[in-house]
């Protein structure tokens, strides 16, 4: 207790200095006076008495020093002294201080910005309790060319699994939905989920207000209740307290609001879902309320199943259990075409992996890139400090001569680099803030929680650690170099020099290392840029200027005839508008994250049970509206739709695979499992990149029709997009004012959205590579300029002895070229190794692409030599007479 109190007081003492000092001086004075008086009383002369008093005391200064050391904390005192001294020397040389701080701030700022992204995306916990125990359940059929996670269990399978499994603490199933909701004057389509009573319990989260959807709510007939998201509560009900007395009208039915979720809870979001599709955030949860018949459905439905593992149960154990259950269920799927071939198997996947795994490599790649930038910045700062330390040999040597310990000198220099590092850290945080401000403009839309990237306490601790680390990294080399100053050499020479040899070597090593890092970064950036160019120039198969809009019908359109009439008149009326060249519709537009695969059976082909093609329903004018080229045969006509056996149009790839070496026109295809109905191919169109830009097109098959629940309108026009959009909206509104407003965009912007992730990673990496490149050039320039200034005398003598200006220029350039060459070779080796790490990010270009690597090396070599040319020319302009006289 007493010790703690003493420590506190001693720390406090650091802030008040003079009063206590004076107080003790007075106390000592009175001590001496008392002692002297006593001596006089015992018969000594006043002088002798005072002398005795001082001897007994053991010296006034010594006592004061001992007292001072006890009063305060001596090591903090000397630290403060170092800091004050450091600040003073830095202020005396502002050019050096500013350059070093700015250089490091660039590195630290970039690092901080990327770390705050990594923090938001990978490290921050999700708003679910113990998310590492959450898993998705699938029953995939591996013999089909469909991704395994497109197979969520059927309802009957799900309830059988639930009954027979022991691995889970809780299991839940839900479906995604969307409802038109009147928001701020217009009708918007709001993403929603139909959930069972275990949904919230499985995610282990608590409502902000009210309660969850319970068992009673999931009884058909009692299911008109809804839980809403925090942001919907804010936007729709202005965050009012009586929200639990209010209700929502969804598709004509009133749903009583029973709960509000906390902010941040918007599951299911597109990122968390197995197929990566769907809405980015869910705002309404209503009961799934399955009927007993629905629960017994063995065919695949729309349910998505997930579960919370019992504590201590591993995914592998759960998977083993599920496999035996699914094997038992397999015979029940005999009539299901999707379960043919090898049958269904069991698959359990980590829930978190869906939210994080796809972006994890990108995050670490960016983090790696900024670490390189930071290393290069540290290298530059270290090089600067080495140069400065050489200039200070005299001052430091003097201090050593006056008795300063080696450790004391190292500590002094480290304190200075710490000041620079911390200053750079503060500035870096500011830079990171600016970078984070621009982040939303770059958001590629596929990185979860990117908008949450912020400078929170964890990021701040990280930045502090990085600042300290870089301070030590940049400070230790010069500090050690200087502390090795040989005192006798120093005194003998009377000037600097002895340390500059090792310092020159250290600086050269730094430049070589920086060059190597830059080669790696430039190569990576180059490969990314080439991949991006490849993706951008891909043949998509459709025209970028086509305007598209989604139109979804609601429950009022129950009859097929109603839907057909609606879309027929919509397409006809839009097509008849002034300035519209063609208008069509399709059920699933390219690049809208949707896929529909169907089995195909081709007449006259060696058919297999599992051959599939992408199937699309289109209106006759769709191909013209999208400008999809016709390669053979004809497009659909209005008459095709009512024909008893509607014809089909296939794409080029379909024709190549299934209709090779014969005329595809007239071939017959069946899509039903008994092969009784046949459709005749009337046309072949070019391949369209439907699902993803970077995937080669699959066999595609188009059928004619107007019977959509939900469709995308495609319109070709010479008018500007905004006018076309307004026109289409007007037609939709005049047909049915109760329909939700669809999102309008051109195919070009859909393509640009699809390339956004690649653009994001490419622009960030290129940006960092450019910074690194610039820093390394500055470093090289600085080193050459410094070495020229150190060699002024030597160069002057050379010129006095007859060296030409060209020789001197070459002399300097040769040294720069040697350093660059070494850096390039090292960098080539490193980038060969690093290429493996970025292979997965590339498209259409080899990770060892020679052109890119050559270009990167060439760029560094040329720019490096240019940077060295400036000091080289300065060296050549040295006046020999002046250089010699300067000594």
């Amino acid at each position: 207790m007493g010790k703690l109190r003493a420590l506190g007081l001693r720390i406090l003492e650091l802030f008040r200095r003079q009063r206590a000092e004076d107080d003790f001086a007075a106390e000592l004075e009175s001590h001496i006076a008392l002692h002297t008086e006593a001596g006089i009383r015992s018969g000594l002369t006043p002088e002798e008495a005072r002398r005795q008093a001082l001897i007994y005391l053991g010296g006034v200064e010594q006592t004061r020093q001992a007292y001072r050391e006890r009063r305060r904390l001596p090591w903090i005192d000397s630290l403060l002294q170092d800091v004050r001294y450091g600040l003073r020397t830095l202020r005396k040389n502002p050019g050096f201080a500013i350059t070093a701080v700015l250089t490091l701030a660039l590195g630290i700022g970039a690092c901080t910005a990327i770390f705050s992204m990594v923090n938001a995306v990978l490290l921050k916990s999700l708003p679910y309790g113990e998310p590492q125990r959450l898993v998705y359940l699938f029953t995939p059929n591996s013999s089909l060319p469909i991704p395994p996670d497109a197979f969520s269990p059927s309802y009957a399978d799900f309830y059988d699994l639930k009954r027979e499994s022991h691995s889970y603490a809780s299991m839940s199933v839900f479906e995604q939905a969307a409802f038109p909701v009147a928001l701020g004057g217009s009708v918007e389509s709001v993403p929603a989920a139909r959930v069972d009573e275990f949904f919230f319990q499985t995610l282990a989260c608590a409502p902000e207000l009210g309660r969850f959807i319970g068992t009673d709510d999931n009884q058909p007939g009692h299911d008109k209740v809804a839980v809403i998201s925090h942001s919907l509560w804010r936007s729709m009900f202005a965050g009012s307290d009586d929200v639990l007395q209010r209700s929502l009208t969804l598709k004509g039915e009133r749903y009583k609001i029973i709960g509000v979720m906390p902010p941040g809870f918007e599951y299911p979001t597109g990122y968390d879902l197995p197929d990566g599709s769907g809405a980015t955030a869910t705002h309404i949860w209503i009961p799934l309320a399955l009927t007993p018949q629905k629960k017994a459905e063995r065919e695949f439905g729309n349910g998505i199943a997930f579960a919370r593992l019992r504590a201590g149960v591993s995914i592998r154990e759960a998977q083993a259990e599920m496999s035996t259950i699914v094997a038992r269920l397999n015979p029940l799927h005999r009539s299901d075409q999707l379960a043919q071939g090898g049958g269904l198997s069991a698959l359990i996947k980590d829930f978190m992996d869906y939210a994080i795994a796809p972006v994890r490599p990108l995050m670490w790649l960016l983090f790696g890139a900024v670490s390189f930038v930071l290393l290069i910045a540290s290298g530059n700062a270290a090089s600067l400090m080495l140069a400065r330390a050489a200039d200070r040999t005299r001052e430091l040597g003097m201090r050593v001569a006056l008795g300063a310990g080696r450790w004391r000198i190292v500590r002094q220099l480290l304190t200075e680099s710490l000041l620079i590092g911390l200053g750079a850290g503060v500035l870096g945080v500011g830079l990171a803030y600016l970078l984070l401000r621009t982040l939303p403009h770059l958001d590629p839309g596929n990185i979860p929680r990117l908008e949450q990237a912020s400078l929170d306490s964890r990021v701040m601790v990280f930045t502090l650690c990085v600042s300290l680390l870089t301070s030590v990294l940049t400070g230790i080399l010069p500090a050690l170099a200087v502390s090795r100053v040989n005192l006798s050499d120093f005194l003998a020479s009377g000037r600097s020099g002895s340390a500059s040899d090792t310092q020159g070597r250290s600086q050269s090593i730094l430049i070589v290392a920086e060059g190597a890092l830059v080669v790696v970064l430039l190569t990576c950036a180059g490969l990314f840029l080439r991949s991006f160019a490849k993706v951008s120039s891909l043949e998509t198969g459709f025209s970028p200027s086509t305007v598209t809009m989604n139109v979804g019908l609601d429950e009022r359109y129950r009859e097929p005839q109603q839907r057909r009439t609606f879309f027929q008149s919509l397409v006809a009326r839009v097509g008849a508008l002034h300035g519209i060249d063609a208008a069509g519709a399709i059920d699933w537009l390219p690049l809208t994250n949707s896929e529909s695969m169907g089995f195909v059976w081709v007449d006259g082909y060696q058919n297999h049970a599992d051959q599939m093609a992408e199937g699309r329903l289109v209106t006759p004018q769709y191909f013209r509206a999208m400008e999809i080229p016709l390669l053979a045969g004809r497009f659909f006509t209005e008459d095709d739709i009512d024909s008893p056996a509607p014809p089909v149009i296939v794409n080029e790839r379909f024709a190549k695979i299934y209709l090779a070496n014969r005329n595809p026109i007239g071939a017959r295809i069946s899509t039903d499992d008994t092969h009784t109905h046949w459709n005749t191919v009337v046309g072949v169109v070019a391949d369209v990149r439907h699902f993803r830009l970077e995937e080669t097109p699959q066999p595609q098959m188009y059928s004619p029709g107007y019977d959509f629940n939900h469709a995308y309108l495609a319109v070709r026009s010479r008018l500007p997009e905004s006018i076309v959009a307004a026109d289409i909206r007007g037609v939709v509104k005049s047909l049915d004012p109760g329909l939700a407003r669809g999102d309008v965009s051109t195919m070009g912007s859909r393509k640009s959205e699809a390339t956004a992730p690649r653009r994001f990673q490419t622009s960030l990496l290129t940006f960092f590579a450019a910074i690194a490149f610039l820093l390394a050039l500055i470093g090289l320039y600085g080193l050459m300029a410094y070495s020229v200034s150190c060699r002024t005398r030597e160069l002057g003598i050379r010129m006095a002895l007859g060296a030409q200006r060209v020789d001197v220029t070459l002399l300097v350039l040769r040294k720069a070229a040697a350093l660059l060459g070494l850096g390039l070779v090292t960098g080539l080796v490193c980038s060969w190794i690093a290429a493996r790490a970025i292979k997965a990010f590339l498209f259409g270009v080899s990770e060892h692409d020679p052109a890119t690597i050559l270009l990167a090396c060439g760029l560094l070599a040329v720019c490096g030599l240019i940077a060295a040319l400036i000091p080289a020319r300065r060296a050549a302009s040295i006046d020999p007479m002046q250089a010699l006289r300067a000594e």
Partner: protein, 113 residues
């Protein structure tokens, strides 16, 4: 070196506390003289070392100080015990007695047998 000063400081601290307990209140010079006298002039005290020790005790809250007037009207800083100081004397004295008792067993092992 550290250990030795620690022991020495610990002893000096106890001497100061104990002396203050007897005298009530005293200035640094008086304390130094008194300690010397009490030790029967066997202890040669460097007066200067007394002040850091006094400061430490004050920082730890065992004594407090204030300026006052000496018997011949000279300004001097007087030290006196606090409650915590009185408790500390008991505690330190007990520890000290224990230490000397243990040490005594080593120095006079015959008595034990």
């Amino acid at each position: 070196m550290g250990d030795k000063t620690e022991v020495w400081q610990g002893t000096l601290a106890l001497m100061v506390l104990r002396t203050l307990e007897m005298l009530g209140s005293m200035h640094g010079y008086g304390l130094a003289r008194r300690i010397e006298q009490t030790s029967g002039d066997k202890l040669q005290l460097n007066y200067g070392t007394l002040y850091p020790a006094l400061l430490k005790l004050e920082q730890e809250g065992f004594i407090r100080s204030r300026w006052g007037l000496s018997e011949n009207n000279r300004r001097a800083k007087y030290y006196e015990l606090t409650r915590a100081g009185q408790r500390q004397i008991k505690k330190a004295a007990a520890e000290w007695e224990q230490t000397t008792a243990i040490l005594a067993r080593f120095l006079n092992p015959a008595e034990e047998a």
